[in-house]
């Protein structure tokens, strides 16, 4: 039960942070590119694109590793991007704004450079979690369904809490740093506490226990 609880919590946290970054992403871009439909188009494009690539990469990582360590590293790096985004976003956007002024591709490029990597990393999380929550083949539909549902609830909270709470209480940078810390701690927890996949072979499990 504890193991499932940890994995579901991870799903909620990453889902929350993902959508929160998407909402805050618009706020990062607005000073330079405005708030018109093309800005939201760029933000949504980047996140969906990053997710689709993240799913592929995450799936491959899941097949390759049989414990949650890889998952922890992915989340940790994503968290690091959240932490350093406040440092590079504004200088980069000022540069972009000047060179790309009046170019409709500018906002798309800027959104990609700022948000692609962190959202791609968070996109990797879902398939990796699927592998870890798997217990038996008969219940695979139920477990993955529940996992996706919980991740999406995280998304919903990410959107609503950001819109109605975070932007009113905190500056952009503070929200980013806060989420970065939470993501990093989640990643570190996964790295520190071993959760082997039920799909690992007897031999692999032994190996995992030894390294732990």
């Amino acid at each position: 039960m504890n193991r499932i609880f940890a994995l579901y919590t991870t799903s909620i946290i990453t889902g929350f942070c993902m959508m929160s970054l998407e909402m805050l992403g618009g706020r990062f871009l607005s000073p330079v590119f405005g708030t018109a439909i093309d800005v939201w188009s760029a933000v949504i494009t980047v996140f969906i694109l990053a997710l689709s690539i993240g799913y592929v990469l995450g799936g491959r990582l899941a097949d390759r590793f049989h414990s949650n360590k890889a998952l922890g590293i992915v989340i940790l790096i994503a968290g690091a991007f959240y932490l350093i985004l406040p440092a590079y976003a504004r200088p980069f956007l000022s540069l972009m704004g000047e060179s790309m002024h009046g170019n409709s591709a500018g906002v798309l490029i800027a959104a990609n450079i700022l948000f692609f990597v962190p959202s791609l990393l968070l996109g990797c999380v879902s398939p990796m979690l699927v592998k870890l929550v798997f217990t038996d083949a008969e219940r695979i539909g139920r477990t993955t369904g529940t996992l996706y549902a919980i991740g999406s609830i995280g998304n919903v909270f990410g959107i609503l809490v950001t819109t109605y709470v975070l932007i009113h209480l905190f500056e952009l940078n503070t929200s980013m740093l806060g989420m970065g810390i939470i993501l990093c701690l989640t990643g570190i927890a996964h790295i520190a506490k071993n959760i082997p996949s039920q799909l690992a072979t007897e031999e692999e499990r032994k190996q995992l226990e030894e390294t732990a």
């Binding site: 590293i73 932490l83 350093i84 440092a87």
Partner: protein, 535 residues
Amino acid sequence: MNSTTIKAVLFFFVALTIGLTLQQDPFQLKAIAHPEDQKVLDFRDSPYSHISWVASDSGNYAQLRFFDKVEGGVCLRPTWAELQELALSKPDLAHLIPKTAVSVPENIANPGTLSNTRYVCLYPSSILLNNSLIQRANGDARQAPANVLVVGLGSGVGISVLAHHFPEASITVVDIDQTVIDMVVDHYPFIASLQNEQTSDGRPRLILDAADARQYITYEDMRRDPLTRYDVVVLDAYTSGSTIPSHLMTKEFFVSIAAILNPDGILMSNIIGSYTGKKRYVLGGAMRSMQAAGLDQVINIPIMTPGYIGSIDVNDTRNNIVLASKAPLTPDRNSHGWKRMEAFTPWNELPTGAYETANVVLIQGQQFDSSALAIPTGPLRETLIENAIDARNAELSSLLDKRTRLLDTGDKQGVKQLDRVIPIMKNNGVLSQRITDEKTSKEILETLKKEHEDALNWFPVKDRTLYFRYTDWVEFTRQTYKLSLIEGRSQARGVWQHSADTIVGSATATKRDRTTIFDAPIFTDAQPNADILNR
């Protein structure tokens, strides 16, 4: 704890340290050529924007900003308190003294009504052009009992301009963002006090309402019985990044505005754009959409900058005051209105030479290279102003010589060009001069060293020169108004250069290929793209 975990924790702390130490301030206060004494008075976040008040004594402004874009600014001096003092000896300003006593907190800047934003200097034109409204005031334009609806509050400076010049006007402001209204009420006591004031016939002088303008007009104004009729509707709604919300720039919206306007009523919009290049679509599109909505008399007054000769190029992106009505607006068909506009002097009661700023910036090549530092009042400042006036007069007389030569050679085009340049060089409230004299530069920097810590970084000044800027704000606003009207009235080959008929073609025209913006779209609810077309 194994080694991987320790590495992970270390990695986390490195990233956290980078984020905490290198994170960038959300305000771009220290931007080059901005005054060094700029400070943030207050900031708040809203669902729409990040809103801040930024002020500078040496720039004489308090600006409201959305993110780091300036939405509008008012001069810090004369303060409202100074204006009230002035009003004791000038009965024309008596309406600036509140009837209901107001206590202004000490930590508030308390700006007055003088504009630091150029386009709002043209706001009086919307009232002065309205013949039946002025008739109702028995010909005294300043007593016009106008009903005004303003869409988009911004810093509130536009409201100040109207309230300063037209004490009998009743103004309703609709702004979608309650936080903007709160910020203005909290930091602009003059605007806040207007809410408790009445015109002589008992109408409120100011109502501030947080609502979407389109919803407000459809569900409030148009449902009132009897129907609310306005003499002026001001459209100045911008999101950050100089985009106009697309639903406030459609034919259907203008139809509903036409429904709440009096027969002589005027829709006045502030539209950023140019006549050629990418920025032409929204300006041209706005004019055509207004025509299509039945407000078929449309003229533009391009906003001119005193002192910057380059700005008379009508192809530059600039603020434009677009006026639309069912009644005629061009100088030939509304000559009374134009006479009233040209006889009108904004901030007529204020003394010139009292509210000025003088500062220097380092420049390298053609680029500004530092923040602007204020030059304190004293003999140095006087000398610099005198020198700058001398330099300008020398340039002016050389231009006059050139004009005489061109007249002799019969170069009509050249003379015409000079005739537009010369008036804006005369007393325009702005002086700017590159200081090439080494002795003067040194003297300035020595003086500044005592006043500003920043100036210490300017030593030694290698390959760079100082640039002196001086502005008399009363003169500046008056000249902005005057020069913009001169440009707005300009005529070539018998047509008004800035009437919609010339720019986008008349409302009934079928062929538009001879017009300036021949490919201007009509914005409709089905295709409302004013927000993205200015990219």
